[in-house]
Protein backbone atom coordinates (compact mmCIF):
# COMPACT_ATOMS: atom_id res chain seq x y z
CA UNK A 1 0.00 0.00 0.00
CA UNK A 2 2.77 2.41 1.05
CA UNK A 3 4.78 1.41 -1.94
CA UNK A 4 1.87 2.19 -4.28
CA UNK A 5 1.31 5.57 -2.63
CA UNK A 6 4.98 6.36 -2.91
CA UNK A 7 4.99 5.49 -6.59
CA UNK A 8 1.90 7.60 -7.21
CA UNK A 9 3.49 10.47 -5.33
CA UNK A 10 6.67 10.17 -7.35
CA UNK A 11 4.64 10.19 -10.52
CA UNK A 12 3.22 13.60 -9.50
CA UNK A 13 -0.36 12.37 -9.33
CA UNK A 14 -1.08 13.89 -5.93
CA UNK A 15 0.25 17.26 -7.06
CA UNK A 16 -2.00 17.11 -10.10
CA UNK A 17 -4.99 16.04 -8.00
CA UNK A 18 -4.47 18.90 -5.50
CA UNK A 19 -4.07 21.38 -8.36
CA UNK A 20 -7.31 20.14 -9.89
CA UNK A 21 -9.20 20.39 -6.59
CA UNK A 22 -7.83 23.91 -6.10
CA UNK A 23 -8.82 24.90 -9.60
CA UNK A 24 -12.37 23.56 -9.10
CA UNK A 25 -12.66 25.47 -5.83
CA UNK A 26 -11.51 28.73 -7.40
CA UNK A 27 -13.81 28.20 -10.40
CA UNK A 28 -16.90 27.51 -8.26
CA UNK A 29 -16.10 30.39 -5.95
CA UNK A 30 -15.70 32.87 -8.79
CA UNK A 31 -18.96 31.66 -10.36
CA UNK A 32 -20.73 32.11 -7.05
CA UNK A 33 -19.34 35.63 -6.64
CA UNK A 34 -20.31 36.53 -10.20
CA UNK A 35 -23.83 35.24 -9.58
CA UNK A 36 -24.10 37.23 -6.36
CA UNK A 37 -23.00 40.33 -8.23
CA UNK A 38 -25.66 39.72 -10.92
CA UNK A 39 -28.29 39.27 -8.22
CA UNK A 40 -27.25 42.57 -6.61
CA UNK A 41 -27.55 44.33 -9.97
CA UNK A 42 -31.05 42.91 -10.53
CA UNK A 43 -32.10 43.97 -7.04
CA UNK A 44 -30.77 47.50 -7.59
CA UNK A 45 -32.75 47.81 -10.83
CA UNK A 46 -35.91 46.55 -9.08
CA UNK A 47 -35.39 49.10 -6.32
CA UNK A 48 -35.04 51.86 -8.92
CA UNK A 49 -38.25 50.79 -10.65
CA UNK A 50 -40.14 50.65 -7.37
CA UNK A 51 -39.04 54.18 -6.61
CA UNK A 52 -40.21 55.29 -10.06
CA UNK A 53 -43.58 53.61 -9.47
CA UNK A 54 -43.96 55.38 -6.12
CA UNK A 55 -42.89 58.76 -7.58
CA UNK A 56 -45.20 58.47 -10.58
CA UNK A 57 -48.13 57.58 -8.32
CA UNK A 58 -47.41 60.61 -6.21
CA UNK A 59 -47.35 62.81 -9.32
CA UNK A 60 -50.45 61.29 -10.93
CA UNK A 61 -52.72 61.29 -7.90
CA UNK A 62 -51.54 64.76 -6.85
CA UNK A 63 -52.10 66.38 -10.26
CA UNK A 64 -55.25 64.51 -11.20
CA UNK A 65 -56.06 64.79 -14.88
CA UNK A 66 -59.13 66.66 -16.09
CA UNK A 67 -62.08 64.39 -16.84
CA UNK A 68 -61.72 64.86 -20.60
CA UNK A 69 -58.00 64.07 -20.63
CA UNK A 70 -57.97 60.40 -21.70
CA UNK A 71 -54.30 60.27 -22.58
CA UNK A 72 -52.95 60.93 -19.10
CA UNK A 73 -54.49 57.91 -17.32
CA UNK A 74 -53.54 55.67 -20.23
CA UNK A 75 -49.95 56.89 -20.13
CA UNK A 76 -49.94 56.43 -16.37
CA UNK A 77 -51.30 52.88 -16.76
CA UNK A 78 -48.64 52.12 -19.35
CA UNK A 79 -45.91 53.51 -17.09
CA UNK A 80 -46.98 51.49 -14.04
CA UNK A 81 -47.80 48.27 -15.86
CA UNK A 82 -44.55 48.33 -17.81
CA UNK A 83 -42.55 48.56 -14.59
CA UNK A 84 -44.68 45.99 -12.78
CA UNK A 85 -44.27 43.59 -15.73
CA UNK A 86 -40.55 44.17 -15.64
CA UNK A 87 -40.32 43.61 -11.89
CA UNK A 88 -42.34 40.40 -12.18
CA UNK A 89 -40.00 39.07 -14.88
CA UNK A 90 -36.92 40.10 -12.93
CA UNK A 91 -38.17 38.45 -9.76
CA UNK A 92 -38.52 35.14 -11.57
CA UNK A 93 -35.04 35.56 -12.97
CA UNK A 94 -33.65 36.48 -9.56
CA UNK A 95 -35.39 33.53 -7.92
CA UNK A 96 -33.84 31.16 -10.44
CA UNK A 97 -30.38 32.73 -9.93
CA UNK A 98 -30.65 32.22 -6.17
CA UNK A 99 -31.34 28.49 -6.31
CA UNK A 100 -28.87 26.51 -4.24
CA UNK A 101 -28.48 22.83 -3.49
CA UNK A 102 -27.10 23.66 -0.03
CA UNK A 103 -29.88 25.91 1.27
CA UNK A 104 -33.46 24.93 1.98
CA UNK A 105 -35.27 28.04 0.73
CA UNK A 106 -38.93 28.00 -0.30
CA UNK A 107 -38.59 29.70 -3.69
CA UNK A 108 -42.24 29.15 -4.63
CA UNK A 109 -43.37 30.91 -1.46
CA UNK A 110 -41.04 33.83 -2.12
CA UNK A 111 -42.35 34.21 -5.68
CA UNK A 112 -45.97 33.98 -4.53
CA UNK A 113 -45.39 36.62 -1.88
CA UNK A 114 -43.75 39.02 -4.35
CA UNK A 115 -46.39 38.44 -7.04
CA UNK A 116 -49.06 39.19 -4.46
CA UNK A 117 -47.37 42.50 -3.67
CA UNK A 118 -46.99 43.37 -7.36
CA UNK A 119 -50.69 42.62 -7.84
CA UNK A 120 -51.52 45.02 -5.01
CA UNK A 121 -49.25 47.71 -6.48
CA UNK A 122 -50.90 47.33 -9.90
CA UNK A 123 -54.34 47.48 -8.35
CA UNK A 124 -53.80 50.39 -5.98
CA UNK A 125 -51.96 52.39 -8.65
CA UNK A 126 -54.21 52.03 -11.65
CA UNK A 127 -57.67 50.98 -10.47
CA UNK A 128 -60.16 53.66 -11.53
CA UNK A 129 -57.34 55.95 -12.66
CA UNK A 130 -59.55 56.76 -15.67
CA UNK A 131 -61.91 58.59 -13.33
CA UNK A 132 -59.28 59.83 -10.93
CA UNK A 133 -61.24 62.97 -10.07
CA UNK A 134 -63.95 60.85 -8.47
CA UNK A 135 -61.53 58.79 -6.39
CA UNK A 136 -61.71 59.96 -2.80
CA UNK A 137 -58.75 58.24 -1.18
CA UNK A 138 -55.99 59.79 -3.30
CA UNK A 139 -53.58 60.44 -0.43
CA UNK A 140 -54.27 57.01 1.06
CA UNK A 141 -53.43 55.47 -2.30
CA UNK A 142 -50.08 57.22 -2.53
CA UNK A 143 -49.22 56.20 1.03
CA UNK A 144 -50.29 52.63 0.36
CA UNK A 145 -48.14 52.42 -2.78
CA UNK A 146 -45.16 53.73 -0.81
CA UNK A 147 -45.78 51.12 1.86
CA UNK A 148 -46.22 48.29 -0.66
CA UNK A 149 -43.07 49.30 -2.56
CA UNK A 150 -41.12 49.34 0.67
CA UNK A 151 -42.54 45.96 1.74
CA UNK A 152 -41.68 44.45 -1.64
CA UNK A 153 -38.11 45.69 -1.43
CA UNK A 154 -37.76 44.49 2.18
CA UNK A 155 -39.00 41.04 1.18
CA UNK A 156 -36.41 40.82 -1.58
CA UNK A 157 -33.72 42.05 0.79
CA UNK A 158 -34.66 39.45 3.45
CA UNK A 159 -34.66 36.74 0.80
CA UNK A 160 -31.17 37.73 -0.38
CA UNK A 161 -29.90 38.03 3.17
CA UNK A 162 -31.02 34.45 3.78
CA UNK A 163 -29.57 33.22 0.52
CA UNK A 164 -26.19 34.90 0.96
CA UNK A 165 -25.94 34.88 4.75
CA UNK A 166 -22.51 34.50 6.26
CA UNK A 167 -21.78 31.34 8.25
CA UNK A 168 -21.36 33.23 11.50
CA UNK A 169 -24.87 34.72 11.31
CA UNK A 170 -26.90 31.69 10.43
CA UNK A 171 -30.57 32.33 11.16
CA UNK A 172 -33.78 30.59 10.24
CA UNK A 173 -34.85 31.35 6.68
CA UNK A 174 -37.99 33.53 6.42
CA UNK A 175 -38.81 31.70 3.16
Amino acid sequence: MLKTLSELSQAGLFTAAFALIGWIFVYLNSRSLARQSEVNTITASIEKMLQEVADENNKFWRDTAAAEDHAKPRLFNAFINFRCDFIEEKIQFLNKKCESAFLDIDHARFEDCIIDLIAQIRDRSTFDSEMAQQVEDKVARVLEINYLSMTLYTNIYDFLRTRYMSGSRFTKAPY
Partner: protein
Protein backbone atom coordinates in the same frame (compact mmCIF):
# COMPACT_ATOMS: atom_id res chain seq x y z
CA UNK B 1 -62.87 17.27 -19.02
CA UNK B 2 -64.04 19.38 -21.94
CA UNK B 3 -61.66 21.69 -23.75
CA UNK B 4 -62.63 25.30 -23.05
CA UNK B 5 -63.40 27.73 -25.84
CA UNK B 6 -60.57 30.25 -26.09
CA UNK B 7 -60.96 33.98 -26.62
CA UNK B 8 -57.67 35.37 -27.87
CA UNK B 9 -57.93 38.92 -26.57
CA UNK B 10 -55.03 40.34 -28.58
CA UNK B 11 -56.26 39.13 -31.95
CA UNK B 12 -60.04 38.92 -31.50
CA UNK B 13 -60.58 42.07 -29.48
CA UNK B 14 -57.49 44.27 -29.40
CA UNK B 15 -53.98 44.18 -28.09
CA UNK B 16 -54.41 47.18 -25.78
CA UNK B 17 -57.48 46.49 -23.64
CA UNK B 18 -58.06 49.45 -21.37
CA UNK B 19 -60.72 51.25 -19.36
CA UNK B 20 -64.26 50.56 -18.26
CA UNK B 21 -66.57 51.94 -20.90
CA UNK B 22 -66.74 53.97 -24.12
CA UNK B 23 -65.68 57.10 -22.24
CA UNK B 24 -62.27 55.52 -21.60
CA UNK B 25 -61.61 54.26 -25.11
CA UNK B 26 -62.70 51.77 -27.75
CA UNK B 27 -61.17 48.63 -26.27
CA UNK B 28 -62.94 48.87 -22.95
CA UNK B 29 -64.11 46.25 -20.47
CA UNK B 30 -67.81 46.76 -20.98
CA UNK B 31 -67.47 46.22 -24.73
CA UNK B 32 -65.39 43.10 -24.19
CA UNK B 33 -67.89 41.68 -21.74
CA UNK B 34 -70.91 42.36 -23.93
CA UNK B 35 -69.49 41.61 -27.37
CA UNK B 36 -67.05 38.79 -26.68
CA UNK B 37 -67.36 37.25 -23.24
CA UNK B 38 -71.13 36.92 -22.90
CA UNK B 39 -71.66 35.50 -26.43
CA UNK B 40 -68.86 32.97 -25.83
CA UNK B 41 -70.35 32.00 -22.47
CA UNK B 42 -73.77 31.59 -24.07
CA UNK B 43 -72.35 29.05 -26.49
CA UNK B 44 -69.74 27.28 -24.39
CA UNK B 45 -69.68 25.89 -20.88
CA UNK B 46 -66.06 26.88 -20.25
CA UNK B 47 -64.15 29.82 -21.66
CA UNK B 48 -60.43 30.52 -21.52
CA UNK B 49 -59.51 34.18 -21.85
CA UNK B 50 -56.04 34.28 -23.33
CA UNK B 51 -54.23 37.61 -22.86
CA UNK B 52 -50.99 36.44 -24.44
CA UNK B 53 -49.92 38.97 -27.02
CA UNK B 54 -51.90 41.75 -25.38
CA UNK B 55 -49.86 44.73 -24.28
CA UNK B 56 -51.16 44.62 -20.75
CA UNK B 57 -54.54 44.31 -19.12
CA UNK B 58 -55.70 47.40 -17.25
CA UNK B 59 -57.17 46.91 -13.79
CA UNK B 60 -60.36 48.82 -14.62
CA UNK B 61 -60.74 46.73 -17.79
CA UNK B 62 -60.36 43.50 -15.79
CA UNK B 63 -62.85 44.67 -13.18
CA UNK B 64 -65.45 45.76 -15.72
CA UNK B 65 -65.08 42.64 -17.87
CA UNK B 66 -65.10 39.86 -15.29
CA UNK B 67 -66.37 41.33 -12.03
CA UNK B 68 -68.89 43.13 -14.26
CA UNK B 69 -70.58 39.77 -14.86
CA UNK B 70 -71.53 39.79 -11.18
CA UNK B 71 -72.14 43.54 -10.89
CA UNK B 72 -74.21 44.01 -14.06
CA UNK B 73 -75.24 40.63 -15.47
CA UNK B 74 -76.54 38.88 -12.35
CA UNK B 75 -73.92 36.13 -12.24
CA UNK B 76 -72.47 34.66 -9.04
CA UNK B 77 -68.81 34.24 -8.15
CA UNK B 78 -69.09 30.44 -8.35
CA UNK B 79 -70.34 30.60 -11.94
CA UNK B 80 -67.66 33.07 -13.01
CA UNK B 81 -64.85 31.11 -11.36
CA UNK B 82 -66.11 27.77 -12.65
CA UNK B 83 -66.69 28.82 -16.24
CA UNK B 84 -63.91 31.29 -16.97
CA UNK B 85 -60.17 30.70 -16.79
CA UNK B 86 -57.37 33.08 -17.73
CA UNK B 87 -54.02 32.87 -19.39
CA UNK B 88 -51.40 35.57 -19.14
CA UNK B 89 -47.68 35.52 -18.48
CA UNK B 90 -48.05 37.91 -15.55
CA UNK B 91 -49.61 36.06 -12.64
CA UNK B 92 -50.20 39.27 -10.68
CA UNK B 93 -52.72 40.41 -13.32
CA UNK B 94 -54.67 37.14 -12.99
CA UNK B 95 -54.50 37.44 -9.20
CA UNK B 96 -56.14 40.86 -9.47
CA UNK B 97 -58.92 39.50 -11.70
CA UNK B 98 -59.85 37.01 -8.95
CA UNK B 99 -59.63 39.81 -6.38
CA UNK B 100 -62.12 41.93 -8.36
CA UNK B 101 -64.44 38.93 -8.66
CA UNK B 102 -64.28 38.43 -4.87
CA UNK B 103 -65.05 42.10 -4.28
CA UNK B 104 -67.97 42.01 -6.72
CA UNK B 105 -69.35 38.95 -4.96
CA UNK B 106 -69.12 40.75 -1.62
CA UNK B 107 -71.07 43.67 -3.14
CA UNK B 108 -73.68 41.26 -4.51
CA UNK B 109 -74.12 39.56 -1.15
CA UNK B 110 -74.39 42.93 0.55
CA UNK B 111 -77.26 43.84 -1.76
CA UNK B 112 -79.09 40.55 -1.10
Amino acid sequence: MSVPHTIFVATEFGDMPHGRNDKDGKLNGEKFRKEHLLPALAEHEEVLVDFDGAKGCGSSFADESFAGLIDHEGWTKDEVVRRITYKFRFKSVIKNIYKYIDEAEARRLEKC
